[in-house]
Amino acid sequence: MRRFDPKLTDADIDKIAHAIDDNAKGAAALNPKKSRLRNSDEPVTTFEAEPQ
């Protein structure tokens, strides 16, 4: 992230890293073993070929 903000401190980087890790752990709940998404389960946002 320092490529975007060279002034980020080590403490900032540590805070960011921990938060990314927390988010990744939380995201595991999106596809738990007990109810896996199937291959054909589409996201709610779908592409439309015809321009609006």
Binding site: M1, F4, D5, P6, K7, L8, D12, K15, I16, A19, I20, N23, A24, G26, A27, A29, L30, N31, P32, L37, D41, E42, P43, V44, T45, Q52
Partner: protein, 464 residues
Amino acid sequence: MMHDEIAFADVATLQRLLGRGTVSSAELTELYLARLEKYGPAYGAVVTIVHERARAEAKRADRERAAGRVRGPLHGIPYGVKDLLATAGAPTTWGAAPYREQHFDFDATAVKRLQAAGAVLLAKLSMVELAGGFGYNDANASFTGPGRTPWNRRFWSGGSSSGSAAATAAGLVGFAIGSETSGSILFPATSCGVTGLRPTYGRVSRHGAMALCWSLDKLGPLARSAADADTVLRAIAGSDPNDRTAVDRPFPAARRRPRIAVLAKGTQKTMPAVKNAFEASLRVLEEFCDIAGEVALPDLPYDAAVGTIVNAEGAAAFRELIESGRSRELQSVDDRTGGYVAYATLAVDYIDAQRRRTFMRDAFERAFAPFDAVVAPTLPTVAYPVDLSFDKAYTAYPGVVSLISAGNLTGVPAIGIPNGFGPNGLPTGLSFLGRPFGEAKLVQIARGFQSRTTFHTRRPVLES
């Protein structure tokens, strides 16, 4: 009527006064402009007051009325908008220092529709920077400083539509427009003791509104009654060629006694005042609704999904800000690094969250279809203290279930109303969650509650 009574009157009363000639729109506008100047800064509620535009719109409204043309129930009524709606001739800051000089040369569709309805724009109202998309953890998260609830200045007005709620509660505007991605109308409505109506996703065009999260963002009214919120929503709703998600749909009202379910576990781990107010509210609701027992929120990962979606879409919406390093200029310490966290969201997690939404929508339909509304306390506590980070306040009352994440992910409407008072003179609130495009039924229930109670008509004692 005294000035104070007029300032706190609901839209229907103001319209009656205008119709009788008791007051003109120009006089109402001057009354509210003076109150915005006097009280707005003390409550961190205002970013920009648009004096010239307000006076010109009020003059036009009076001129038309004198000529026999009244555009509708909002004709001549002064209002404010959250400062994420574009308005020509005034800055649109999104509550954030990096955008404080930002100008647009057009009005957002919602503003255009209110102008067409004859309403008078008074001010751009304060908000949490970037509508809270970068994960703020305390009230000091706007370049205008923390918003404060008119009921007690030591406590936060809620976010992210902070100024819209506070200005409405303090009688600084007739009504206001806010936005909600996940809680930003219902939360401040509760903290400030006003009525907040979060419409169905797609009911109101977002054209000209700051995008935080395209698949969740919605605009809606904050008002002093459910009837007012209904009037405003009808004025701003409808399709718009500039927002392909916006659609024209009717407002069907319930033709029978409303059937309501109570959210199971809704009062668990809530503040005692919230629980007591909610239980008393159920007794009021029983007078005119059939309470059909409890219904459980389908067990799905709402919080993980909403967090992932807001992070991914928010990082894309503010990619330029993040990559420029200017997040450093944000007010909240957590927002200064939160953009980088959001930026690192995995694409597969975002897609999976959007895949889960289909299941959530279908599960909601199965669970809630038999009811006109599901009711629960809006929040487990009263407003947060201004001087304490959120994760350190009210740790004993985290709540167990919340309709806010789930309701936003499924795109259904909700109305939040005041239903009591708790510690430090702060309001408590309850919410009704409805079926897609079922706002009229929610309004009908909320109006029934407000016709039997006086919480929505009480006024805070203001400090300037």
